[in-house]
Amino acid sequence: MRMRPTRLIPLLLALTLAAPALAETFERQLANGLRVIVKEDRRAPTVVHMVCYRAGSMDETNGRTGVAHVLEHMMFKGTPTVGPGEFNRRVADAGGRDNAFTSHDYTAYFQQVPEHKLGEMMQLEADRMRHLSLDPAEFAQELRVVMEERRLRTEDQPQSLLFEQLTATAFQAHPYRVPVIGWMNDLENMVPADARSWYDNWYAPNNATVVVVGDVDHQAVFKLAAQHYGTLQPRQLPVRKPQDEPRQLGIRRLVVKAPADLPLVMMAYKVPVIRNVEQDVDPYALELLAAVLAGHDAARFSTSLVRRQRLAVEAEASYDSTARGPGIFYLQGSPGEGKTVSELEAGLRAEIVAVQERSVTADELARAKAQLIAGQIYKLDSMFAQAIEIGQLEAVGIPYAQHGRLLEKLQAVTAEQVQAVARKYFNEQGLTVGELDPQPLPPAARSPAAGS
């Protein structure tokens, strides 16, 4: 189904950077500004075709939150030449699968098809890049689907509610405060004109990157791209205001009450992300810190908080060093039996203090780096993961050509640098703490299933 990844993704490893250059990557920019990146991977006769628009929920304005994602849904509702639902049907008939997702930073559409269907996919994507119909009746129907999606992913999910409230508290000025799917009231009041102006503003070849990974020849792909996308006219893009977050001046706390059994604490520390691949140091050290804390089963949170002290049934750390907006380093966990949220919060903080005072060991750092390298190789087993990686880096403004340097910079991180970032950013000043306060279900809801 249509994905909508948030920034947290607490179940994933924190190391989400670039793949090693085992497969060759080629790049070209068309005259209309469209960038085309091709990675040849000939293991199976299939191809992933992805179009990334550099427009996500962080480009929305108040009262219209969620419009980036609603437009993503509308992209399947037809153009003058391809009727509503026809896009999906054409992909299915081609023996393919397709979907799309919206994030804070960008919006992406992708298909995986047998390699000889690439041209047809490009034709379809080029068509909807500039010719979307946005029929009002289709819009009204699809808005109801999106509200169901919000109920499914957020309203009925205590953890998502906590994350949404935490983010809205940590950020007050920067648009990262708004959930990607939008506030329900904004969805209820959205009109076709909102989607139309979003589309007109951002859907243009000069705001898009086409990524192709698979059993292809790059020269042939460039030719196909020029044929299908080359005729589209570029447009003047709106001015993007920086909307920098003002400095936080002390700890912020919030509580979310929702039906649940396990309490949950989430801590958000404000940290930097990569702005200059060569000169930056701290974001790489933060990636390694996240890996040492919670990158694998032998990492500190699991060993100390879950196993030794039994303070937590689960404890995670996550950080993404690549983003268009500001960075957050998350810690989260659910307390173990007989333990409280505040005891667990103290335990999580104590793990940070341990790094501040005694750094990390050479073994731990080596282990985290070994995981990182292995993870990059494992990623090569998925063409889709490779395409996402290229699209994401490009969307946040890091040329994929630099991905090898990113890896080298990560490998070069020292224990001193990890200790330095622990000291520099993990203080009350930049901290927001959210707690899920579980509310019991009404008795009628509890009895039947517990006994089944």
């Binding site: 189904m1 689907v145 396990l262 694998h296 049934v313 173990g336 509890r446 299933a449 517990a450 006994g451």
Partner: protein, 431 residues
């Protein structure tokens, strides 16, 4: 007009090259009697191994529900000479990843490692120890039991978990497939129970090995021997009872969620059953084909009732379920249920149209290489072939088997397998 469109589709279908991308599968048996399937692939420096035991929840004794998952969790948390942290550290040192799952039939241990000699040897040695000398330390047992209880209590507040439990109970009653762990069953488990469950189920005759990746046949054989040498040679396989079909029923469970969760279905299909192909081809049109299915069009596109709706067959060692599932705003649950039932009823009455049948075949055959485009996907398929003893040419024959399905096959298979008098419905958080 209709005829025209039909011909066009037929034409498209015929000219689409049917690439059989199935990798060759090799098979042998280890000295200890474990059956091994192997796919050699040197494109990436990776080896994936899956060890499946007939040790899923269907083999639990009723009062011990929950023991299958707990046993699977504990096997990797302590072996002779190494505690859980040492195991996890060594795995991490070489960049290897250990994972697993437990379903009704299977308990799986899955290893992914780099294929370089110094890396893979460490990972294989750890896996060997996990298979042959698990220790189940008492303190680790108590901790993991407490964690399982905490996770279960949380799950029992979630509408998606409640609907699933009630659905399987309604379909299978007291049959092993209908069983669920409860806070009571988990609380009474003792370490000795886990030792006994392990001894009875993690044995050579109940094990299947699947290996995919950067090894030669000789290397793979050596690894398979090494991994399985110490497995016990008994007890052997035990059969799961044949489930009885339920009478049609409808159950409602109150819940404060904004959305109702609905599941409809019945026990329908075994692994290896010849009805498999007509059912999956037919189901593509009904609700398996994602955005282009009839359910998706009726429930999502035409009415905006749900973000997603699906129908699905899950073949198991015994009759596994056919299910239709969706979530919708509480207030419209009744309307969404009515639409869903109408789509199902009309499909059972008429089956797919000629165009729909062609489209289904075209997608299922055309997308076949997509399902085998990575070592991970190949491992998953090969493990199923091995565990359920499907023919070795299952993947080679897949496209032909799809191609041969006729409209009357589909109607007959659905008439046999999806009979409304056995259909159960569960609604959590409806009005």
């Amino acid at each position: 007009m209709t005829a025209c469109k039909c011909l066009l589709l037929l034409f498209l279908f015929l000219v689409t090259p049917v690439t059989s991308a199935a990798p060759p599968i090799e098979r042998w048996q280890t000295a200890s009697g474990v059956r091994v399937l192997f796919v050699e692939s040197h494109a990436l420096p990776i080896v994936d191994i899956q060890v499946d035991f007939a040790a899923g929840t269907a083999y639990e004794n009723f009062a011990q529900a929950g023991i299958a998952s707990l046993t699977r969790e504990l096997v990797e948390l302590g072996v002779a000479g190494m505690d859980e942290t040492q195991i996890a550290s060594r795995m991490a040192d070489v960049g290897a990843q250990l994972s697993g799952e437990v379903d009704r039939d299977r308990a799986s241990i899955i290893l992914r490692t780099l294929s370089m000699g110094d890396k893979r040897r460490v990972a294989f040695e750890l896996l060997r120890a996990i298979l042959s000398t698990p220790q189940f330390p008492a303190a680790v047992f108590e901790r993991e039991k407490a964690r399982s209880l905490a996770a279960l209590k949380e799950a029992l507040t979630r509408p998606e978990a409640l609907v699933k439990r009630a659905f399987w109970s309604a379909m299978y009653g007291s049959h092993p497939y209908g069983r669920h762990e409860t806070t009571e069953s988990l609380a009474t488990l003792e370490r000795a129970d886990v030792l006994a469950f392990h001894a009875a189920h993690y044995t050579a005759p109940r094990a299947r090995l699947a290996i995919v990746g950067d090894l030669s046949r000789a290397q793979a054989e050596a690894v398979a021997e090494e991994l399985t040498a110490a497995l016990a040679t008994s007890p052997g396989m035990t059969a799961i009872a044949v489930p009885e079909l339920p009478s049609s029923s409808e159950q409602r469970i109150a819940h404060p969620a904004a959305q109702a969760h609905l599941l409809l279905g019945l026990p329908a299909l075994k692994r290896g059953d010849p009805d498999f192909f007509p059912l999956i081809v037919g189901n593509y049109t009904l609700g398996g084909g994602g955005f282009v299915s009839r359910l998706m069009k009726a429930v999502r596109d035409q009415r905006g009732f749900a973000y997603s709706v699906h129908s699905h067959f899950q073949p198991l060692a015994q009759l596994g379920p056919f299910e239709i599932g969706l979530q919708t705003k509480k207030e419209q649950a009744q309307d969404a249920l009515a639409v869903t039932r109408e789509v199902l009823a009309s499909f059972l009455r008429e089956g797919p149209s000629d165009e729909e049948l062609l489209a289904a075949k075209q997608n299922l055959i055309g997308s076949f290489p997509l399902h085998l485009d990575s070592n991970r996907e190949i491992l998953r398929s090969v493990a199923v072939i091995g565990f359920y003893e499907l023919p070795l040419d299952y993947l080679d024959r897949y496209s032909d088997n799809i191609e041969e399905v006729t409209l009357s096959d589909i109607k007959a298979a659905f008439a046999r397998r999806v009979r409304p008098e056995h259909l159960v419905t569960v609604i959590v958080a409806g009005e």
